[in-house]
Structure formats: C-alpha cells, structure tokens
Amino acid sequence: MVPENLKYTDQHEWVRVEGDTATVGITDYAQHELGDIVYVELPLAGTDVTARKAFGVVEAVKTVSDLFAPVSGQVLAVNETLGTDASIVNKSPYREGWMIKIKMSNQSDLEHLFSPEEYKRLIGEQ
C-alpha cells in the first residue's frame, strides 16, 4: 500500500507535507518487513533533526532499525501513543502510526524525496 498523497524516502519513511510542516512515519512495506513492532524511540519536541540523519529507532522483537529524517527542521510534535502501544505502527502505519511532525527549515529538502511511483519501483511494486 503506497498512498498517492505522500512522499517517500529510500529508507522507507513517508512524509505528509502541509505548508511547512512535515509529518513522518514508516511505510506499510517497512512495518511488514519488521514484523511485530514492540518499541519506538523518538526525539523530544524541540529537537533539531537533519535530513538523512537518524532521529530515532523502531524495534521489532529481534530487529533494531534506525529512523531517518526525510527533511531538516525542528520537531514540533511526537506521537506519545506509540510509547504505550508500539503495535499501532503495524496496524496503521500512515495514520495512527505517525511518529513525528517537523517544522521544515528548508523546503528544497522535499526535492530529494521519492514520488509514490518511484517508491513503488524501489519496493518492487510496479
């Protein structure tokens, strides 16, 4: 499942852009690959993040996977519900499973993101 209204990274994050706010999560492909997600480590609101650098971690029982910021900016909000129930990411990766909201510092970061078609090609879904 690759929603048409989002942008993507080659590390399997998705981005929803609304003005200068970017909401970030991991894709359906990523949650499926990871299996049962049991822990998500996210930065505090106010933290600066840099495009293509890790901002947190998502863990399945046996795997630890870095989360990479798609754009640079400052963390506006963090999805606290994932602290109590990380499996929300498996059940609803694009909606209830959102991870952080970033106030973008550089709109041109968006140019490096993948379109839904490009992401589908990456994951072998023509």
Binding site: G35, D36, Y39, V61, K62, V64
Partner: protein, 363 residues
C-alpha cells in the same frame, strides 16, 4: 549456494520467510514471530531444524573417544538416554554445546548448525585414526514438536507409546515406513520431542504431525521464535552467550562439568579455574525502564564498564526487555542494579534469576 532442508518446498507453500543461516536456507518465520512464540507456549508448534549437525562415533572405541572430548561423563549414559554437554578446548573455552545420545553401541552428538564443520574437524583431529566417526549432517532430518499440547498430538498420530518417555530419554518408532528416533528434549522450556530420521525426500512425517496437531492449534514455527523461546529459558546460544573464549564455569554450566573422572580436553584448565575463581559470570538482567537491550551493549556500574550483553530482546511472553550477559562475580548477586548502555544512554537494569520464564511445561 545455501543448503536446503528436504522440507524447503513445504516451507515455501506455508508462506515462510526464508533466510540464509549457517549456510542453510531456513524459515525464520511463517505467521509472525510473536504469534509463533505464543503458539509454542500455549498450544504446540512444529520446527524444521534439519540444519543441525549429526556426528556419530561407532562402537566402544567411539564412545571412549567421544568421552575424552566433552566435559560431562558419557560413560554414565545408557542406551536410550542423552545428556547435555559442552565440548572444550585446552583453555577450557567452549568449542560447542550439544546433546550427546547413547544409541545402542554408538554415540551421537547433535551439534549446532553454525559449528558442524568446525566440530567435525575438531573431533577428527582429536581422535585416533582408528576411531570410526561419521558426519551424517547432510543426510539427517530433524524436527522438533514443542508445546504443552505435545502429548495429545502424539496420541492422535498413533505414537502414544512415546507419552510416558521421560526427559532426556529416546526411543525409535516407525511411521509411514520411516524409522524415526524420538527424544524427549527441546530448546523451548515446553514439553516436546525432537525427531531424527534419514533424509528420503519424504514430507510424510511433517504432514502427519501437522495433521494430528490441527485440533490442538498446531502451527509451523521458524528460527526467529526458536531464539526468543530459548532466551526466555536462559538457555545459552553458541556465538552469543558462549564461545571458545568462555568456559562452562563462567556460563553457569558447571553442572555439566565432571572434573572427578578420567581426563578430557580442558580438564586441567577448568580445575585451575575452579581453584582460582572465575572472572566473569553469566547472569540474567531485567530492564527497569522502557527500552530493549541487545547483544553487544555494554553493562556499566558507577560509570565504569563492567560487562557486556550477550543476548537481549523483548520477551514476547513477559512483555519486557530482558538480557543475558557477563558481569564480574562480585556484581552477580540477585537484585544488583546495573546500567545497560543503549545508544549512549544508561538504562536501569537488575540482576535476576534464570530462567526468566518459569511456567514451562517441560517434563
């Protein structure tokens, strides 16, 4: 090209995620790790563990030679019995850990898949030339049936004669004209059996067990859940909790080391270590904060690194982060508070008793 178990097509049909492990293409998961793990704890599961190695020692000469290689006493093993033992090098470090089976006049070591070639080389080079040693790893299928509902599955498939078999005992039966050796053993902490038979292209044993297990809710179980199940029991995994720089005394396996018997490789080193004391000890650690400890994470106390995590995960049954690791013996007392360093931050943890999971149905 990785080796394939004879059941590889079956795994594909069942939708297994296949991954290369120890040179074999193995099912890591089918329905999902947490689901499979829970199925073994509450019902019953079937594992294909054909990647394990089987090394045979023939006759009395073989048994005597085998006995010199291991720390446990194989001369006490009557036919129809097996026991768990490490095999050590001259420094007392563990070359491998495995079950040794007395089968008639022969001895069988069922060794770790990741060590099969290493073990065979070690064994051959440490036995006299006239000792008959056979590596039948490539020709032996091994299945494991594990879970509290094991007995009802066996009864349903016509193997009720196995039900009264005690732990660490084995017996042979014939099913669909295939001769199978069954031992009441396992790596999960639940009741169960391991089945060994000669590779013959047949899926009949697997199919028969899965069919008989259907009313009990049987599922196929992958290597992912195999690891979380053994971890909850505090069982060592070679390459994680034990390796050739770790002695059985350090790993809490002193009970498998019979120093008062004829010489075996490593005996001198272990006698010495018993006298002078161990420098590191394997402990269980319960994480007191919200994060997951992993292999390789340092263990610290008062800002000083004192040890290392050798196995760590999120326990599907106990629903918390747990670890096994080494600390100095003086810090190994139950309840000792330590820090596990997770991505640069100290996570509060506490030394706890193994096994982590205490409600297993193992007989």
């Amino acid at each position: 090209m990785p080796k394939e178990t004879p059941l590889i097509e079956k795994h594909r049909e069942l939708g297994a995620r296949l991954v290369e492990f120890a040179g074999w293409l193995m099912p890591i998961q089918y329905s999902g790790l947490v689901d499979e793990h829970g199925t073994v704890r509450s019902a019953v599961g079937l594992f294909d563990v054909s990647h394990m190695g089987e090394v045979w020692f023939r006759g009395a000469r073989g048994i005597a030679a085998a006995n010199r290689l291991v720390t446990n006493d194989l001369t006490t093993l009557e036919p129809g019995n097996c026991l768990y033992t490490p095999m050590c090098n001259e420094r007392g470090g563990i070359v491998d850990d495995f079950l040794a089976y007395r089968v008639g006049e022969d001895m069988l070591f069922v060794v770790n898949a990741s060590n099969t070639d290493k073990d065979y080389e070690w064994i051959v080079s440490h036995c006299d030339k006239d000792v008959q040693i056979e590596n039948l790893s490539g020709e032996t299928v091994e299945l494991a049936l594990q879970g509290p509902k094991t007995e009802e599955v066996l009864t349903r498939v016509g193997l009720s004669k196995l039900v009264p078999l005690g732990h660490n005992k084995h017996e042979t039966f014939s099913l669909h004209s295939i001769e199978v050796m069954a031992s009441r053993t396992g790596y999960t902490g639940e009741d169960g059996f391991e089945f060994y038979y000669r590779r013959n292209g047949s899926e009949k044993i697997w199919d028969a067990l899965m069919e008989a297990g259907r009313p009990s809710g049987i599922k196929p179980i992958g290597l992912g859940a195999r690891d979380t199940l053994r971890f909850e029991m505090g069982y060592c995994l070679y390459g994680n909790d034990i390796d050739d720089d770790t002695t059985p005394l350090e790993a809490g396996l002193g009970w498998t080391v019979k120093l008062d018997r004829e010489d075996f490789i490593g005996r001198d080193a272990l006698l010495k270590q018993k006298a002078t004391g161990i420098k590191k000890k394997l402990v269980g650690l319960e994480v007191l904060e919200n994060a997951i400890p992993r292999k390789g994470f340092p263990i610290a106390m008062d800002d000083r690194e004192i040890g290392i995590v050798t196995s760590g995960t999120f326990s599907p049954t106990l629903r918390k982060g747990l670890a096994m690791g080494y600390v100095p013996p003086e810090n190994a007392t139950l309840g000792t508070e330590v820090s596990i360093v997770v991505r640069g931050k100290g996570l509060k943890a506490r030394v706890t008793k193994l096994p982590f999971y205490k409600c297993g149905s193992r007989k």
